[in-house]
């Protein structure tokens, strides 16, 4: 039997560790497939027919979703016991579900890579309950069912912990977000034949996740880490959290309308979608103010500088990526020209990275030294490496965003703005964007270096020498 980890308030929090480790492995995979695609943008037949572009894209986006889910689950397993002030209901269930989810995830990715997508659909009997073929939700139906089972078990586990323990605003918001995540995923099981209707159900998963309930998850994870690293009163943090979630829900839910512009829905959505989504930057702005105010009012100098940097960084990057870059093309008259161009890709990259990849890394940065039993924080050298990783990733992702934004602007000009007969077709337009795509690829390589740097920062194995006698949780 292993000796107890003194840096964990509750030993069952340790189940978060495999979730975090696996999340980061999948993140690495996601970035590698991103680079393959980045190269395919400029060298069209790179790795063809071994890994066609559409497959690489599917693997890139699916790995993103799955690693974030692993990250959220790990975060919940870490913070729910601590907030509820009791051990996790069943650590064994958490470990079993980890292996089920990991196996299902790996098999699905292998399925994408080893057999053609149509063959995968046949193999998994998609015809019995057709759910395949939609962006982000390409998983075979059997995998989707596996995800539902894992989510139910996960919600049962943390729900029981919460019910029996202390109920804090942070944990209740986290729980609400996670239940919402599971509930909205159910829309992925309905796949209407009518393409316009199909789009509604699809957005009710995708949009209500990233611009709805995931913001609750992000807000609560941020609040948890800020309470820990700043020592600011829980009451103050909770008030901020209320404001953030209220704004996120007011703007996010009705803001779904910005996806109904051109899919055959009534004209009223042009107004509703434009107006409500114009305010979607607000909750992200509130998060920036929240993080910086809390750090300014801090009551203690936490030894984990890197975690504090991540917490501040995620809010700023999310504000620009999700807020500013989202607003850039959310108004209907603008979106008429920019819909589905490289501008969307620019927004998608900075938003997903800033809001969700970075919040997961914020929590990992805070929790991992404790989970590994090496202290409240890694040694200064490891933190320096981690901070290098932070800046390399953030700066290169900003560069990727700027190059894609430029590509999007040129694309709109050549392909959309010009009148009939002069406007270029898509493939001819892409020819003009080659330089920008090369620049994006180079930024992508720097991003990989940043990620490797970050992963290397976990090299420290021994406990920090001279650890304090009293451990602050």
């Amino acid at each position: 039997m292993r000796s107890a980890n003194p840096y964990l308030k509750f030993q069952s929090q340790a189940v978060a560790k495999p979730y975090f480790v696996f999340a980061l492995i999948l993140f690495l995979g996601q970035v590698l497939f991103g680079l393959i695609m980045g190269l395919q943008y400029v060298i069209g037949d790179f790795l063809f027919p071994l890994i066609p572009f559409n497959v690489a894209r599917m693997v890139h986006t699916n790995l993103l979703i799955v690693w974030l889910l692993f990250g959220f689950m790990g975060a919940a397993y870490y913070l729910i016991p601590e907030e509820a002030d009791r051990e996790l209901h069943s650590p064994k269930l958490a470990i079993v579900l980890f292996w089920v989810f990991a196996a299902a995830g790996v098999l699905t990715i292998l399925g994408y890579l080893l057999v053609p997508y149509a063959a995968l659909a046949k193999l998994t009997h998609n015809e019995l309950l057709p759910t395949m073929g939609r962006e982000f939700l390409e998983q075979p139906t059997i995998t989707k069912m596996g995800i539902v089972v894992v989510c139910l078990g996960f919600l049962y586990n943390i729900g029981m912990t919460l019910l029996k323990g202390r109920k804090t605003t942070v944990s209740m918001v986290m729980m609400t977000g996670l239940i919402g995540l599971a509930v909205f995923f159910l829309f992925s099981f309905y796949n209407p034949g009518n393409l316009a209707r199909d789009k509604f159900y699809w957005w009710w998963v995708v949009h209500l996740w990233v611009e709805g309930v995931w913001e609750l998850i992000m807000g609560s994870m941020l609040a948890f880490v800020l309470i820990k690293v700043t020592g600011v009163d829980r009451e103050v943090v909770e008030k901020w959290l209320y404001v953030i979630i209220a704004m996120a829900l007011i703007t996010g839910i009705i803001g779904t309308g910005h996806h109904f512009f051109w899919i055959g829905a009534p004209e009223v959505w042009l107004w509703v979608g434009s107006i409500f989504s114009a305010l979607e930057p607000l909750p992200f702005l509130a998060m920036v103010m929240f993080a910086f105010t809390m750090v300014k009012q801090r009551r203690r100098q936490h030894p984990n500088r890197a975690a504090t940097l991540w917490a501040k960084g995620t809010t700023v990057t999310a504000f620009f990526g999700a807020g500013v870059w989202g607003f850039l093309h959310t108004l209907a008259p603008v979106n008429f020209y920019t819909h589905g161009t490289q501008l969307t890709a620019a927004h998608g990259h900075l938003a997903f990275f800033g809001a969700y990849a970075m919040i997961v890394m914020t929590l990992i940065s805070y929790a991992m030294p404790r989970l590994r039993g090496i202290g409240e924080a890694p040694d200064p050298r490891s933190q320096t490496i981690e901070i290098w990783g932070f800046w390399l990733m953030v700066v290169s992702m900003v560069m990727i965003t700027l190059f894609l934004t430029a590509a999007g602007a040129v694309q709109v000009w050549l392909q959309r703005w010009q009148v009939d007969g002069v406007a270029l077709p898509f493939m001819a337009t892409v020819e003009h964007l080659q330089v920008l795509f090369w620049a994006r690829l180079v930024s992508g390589v720097v991003f990989l270096l940043g990620l490797l740097c970050y992963l290397y920062s976990f090299r420290q194995r021994a406990r920090v020498v001279g650890a304090p006698a009293a451990i602050v949780y």
Binding site: K239, W240, I250, V268, I275
Partner: protein
């Protein structure tokens, strides 16, 4: 006349003020959209507005303002330690707000019955979006007033712990305030 010697303070919870700020921002953008479109399509707006009855709008305005007054008086009563009187005033506010709901629903039914729906013209698209969004806020405000009345009946608010009551009534004043802008903009201006 009361002369207040206590230091100036912001009534209610600061978080509620932030929330109200966020809500007002949403309404401000909706109102701007309405006003700008009016400038762009003056005929469509003149035709649309001709279908609305100004006196109906005025009646709704008066009922909301009366409810606001009663809610404010309720806070004053509770501040003086008269919780039950506060409760009665809040119930009065709720009742007057119900008059607004009754008129508004009748107006909606009339317009919908005349085929002047969401898709009829740009004016009516914006009319329904703007007033409909406000209507939902009135309903939420009424739920809050009801809750406050119940809490007052239980004598749950005692000086200085009036933050919850003040925050709830503040929200209702926000709903009032928005309508005071909506009424001239939607019904009156030509």
């Amino acid at each position: 006349m009361f002369i207040l010697h206590e230091p100036r303070r912001v009534p209610g919870d600061l978080a509620m003020w932030f929330f109200i700020l966020a809500e007002l921002t949403v309404f401000a953008i909706l109102i701007l959209a309405f006003a700008v479109t009016q400038v762009l399509k003056p005929e469509v707006f003149a035709q649309g507005r001709a279908q609305l009855d100004t006196s109906t709008g005025l009646a709704m305005t008066l009922s909301l303002l009366t409810a606001g007054l009663l809610a404010a008086l309720a806070v004053q009563q509770v501040r003086l330690g008269r919780s039950r009187q506060g409760c009665a005033l809040l119930l009065g506010a709720l009742l007057v707000a119900l008059v607004y709901v009754w008129i508004k629903v009748a107006e909606y039914a009339h317009l919908a019955g005349s085929g002047l729906g969401l898709e009829y013209s740009t004016f009516f698209t914006l009319y329904w979006v703007l007033t409909g969004f406000h209507f939902l806020h009135v309903l939420l405000g009424m739920v809050i007033l009801g809750w406050l009345a119940w809490r007052c009946w239980q004598r749950a608010y005692r000086v200085p712990g009036l933050s919850g009551l003040e925050s709830g009534v503040l929200y209702w004043h926000m709903v009032d305030l928005v309508w005071v802008v909506l009424f001239p903009l939607v019904y009156v201006i030509r």
